[in-house]
Symmetry: C2
Subunit: 272 residues, 2 copies
């Protein structure tokens, strides 16, 4: 039997960091089922009071204290939240003390400098996103000289989301080119990517997963059949090996993981 | 004068969480300049030893201990890293003890359950990304009934990256529709979006920032001129107010922040 608990991620920003950290920690307590509630932009007394109500309701409902992960900078807001019926984990406080000692400086009340860093990164990210969109699915090949990486793979192996994530998270210019049945039959790299061989990175995927995904697009088609998926995957992997193109199997990974593994495996330097 | 330190984010996963947390903490120590090095997939003794070398080099170079934020699950790997000349912050350990006490259960050695959660979210995210791509920039309007939100705004006000982020992070189906000079002149919502008024969310941006961005696309054009940008922004904001379309100014925010603020302001429920 699993026990229900509600986990709140409360932040005066997006809450994305406290949520990622908290979910990762909670995933290690397997006897529980955690309901996840993220509350971003809790930046006023009014919103803090509303949050307290939500927390108390959840604690009552589960007959057990809600777990709160907070990344609030304002002590006044945090003390309001702390007055609720909850078990609270103050993500920042745990580390600010030790860091203050090590660095010999008091932390400021405000999150600083992010603006600058962010703006520098911002332009890289936006232009990388444009690049990914313009060079998606082999739509355009004449700007491959600008690419940091060119993903190749059969249709629906995860190329587009990975390119977009590489752009968004790392500011990487990632193009992608679909390997068609014809390319695979010939066991030949298409001319338009052949000269960029050192930038190629292959994606592959388990045939049954590929068939499932393709069936969502075109149900009961030859394209989505197990036979066709088996064939394409087998042949494309053969081509990767023959052409010595580095590749990875995306089946069991999230987009974040696929993107980060490509960065490591292909030794690509992030741009933001 | 700022003091240089190197910050390492070491993980057996992507390192994205420890990096986000660590950067946020370090940004509050304004007297320092931190060089950021993220080392994902440190999952073997060999990689741990390589990491130790990198850390020791950085500490020597800066004549001050490198700061390490780690989210390593394997104690053996962590103890190797800890043997380096560094100031180490063990992100998980700080919270696992208190959580263990509160939940009355020992944490497992492995990050559990993420797979399931992730897979359920995965399909939502992938189909939301497809939706954003297919319904970008007014390319297609006949599936607006499926949209969770339709972003509107003048050219280059940040619609596309925001839609992609909404899809990637929250599994939200976000379409976007560009408001052209003609629409703005008339002060009339185009017919294709008029019937979806309750789904519309407007983006606006400071004219000088818009001019800068447009100049990168088409330098010295009428399109990028301050006069044109001033005009479009003024009129589009007038239209938002007149039509009672909720809107936000994107100038000083990152894509993450814009997306999350839209979720809150428009009360959109995440889908993953």
């Amino acid at each position: 039997m699993t026990t229900k608990r509600t986990a709140f991620f409360v932040s005066d920003g997006t809450g994305i960091t406290s949520e990622a950290l908290g979910m990762s920690l909670l995933s290690r307590f397997e006897g529980f089922e955690f309901e996840r509630i993220t509350l971003p932009y809790v930046d006023s007394v009014e919103k803090a009071n509303e949050t307290v109500e939500k927390i108390n309701e959840a604690s009552l409902r589960n007959d057990a204290k809600a777990i709160i992960f907070d990344t609030l900078v304002d002590d006044r807001i945090r003390s309001i939240i702390a007055s609720s019926n909850c078990f609270m984990i103050d993500v920042f406080a745990a580390f600010l003390g030790p860091l203050e000692q090590e660095l010999g400086q008091q932390p400021s009340d405000r999150v600083g400098r992010n603006k600058i860093t962010e703006n520098r990164g911002y332009d890289h990210r936006i232009s990388a996103i444009s690049y990914a969109l313009d060079n998606d699915d082999g739509a355009r090949t004449r700007y491959y000289n600008e690419a940091d990486v060119i993903l190749v793979g059969v249709s629906r192996s995860g190329k587009t989301p990975t390119c977009l994530y590489l752009a968004m998270q790392y500011g990487i210019k990632a193009a992608n080119y679909p390997l068609t049945e014809e390319d695979i039959d010939d066991q030949k790299l298409p001319a338009s990517i052949k000269s960029f061989k050192q930038k190629l990175f292959g994606l592959t995927i388990e045939p049954d997963r590929l068939s499932l995904i393709r069936n969502e697009r075109k149900a009961n088609s030859r394209y989505a059949s197990m036979k066709q998926c088996n064939y394409e995957v087998e042949e494309v992997e053969l081509m990767y090996r023959r052409e010595r193109i580095p590749f990875m199997n995306t089946t069991h990974y999230s987009v974040e993981e696929i993107a980060t593994r490509i960065m490591v495996q292909a030794e690509i330097k992030r741009r933001c």
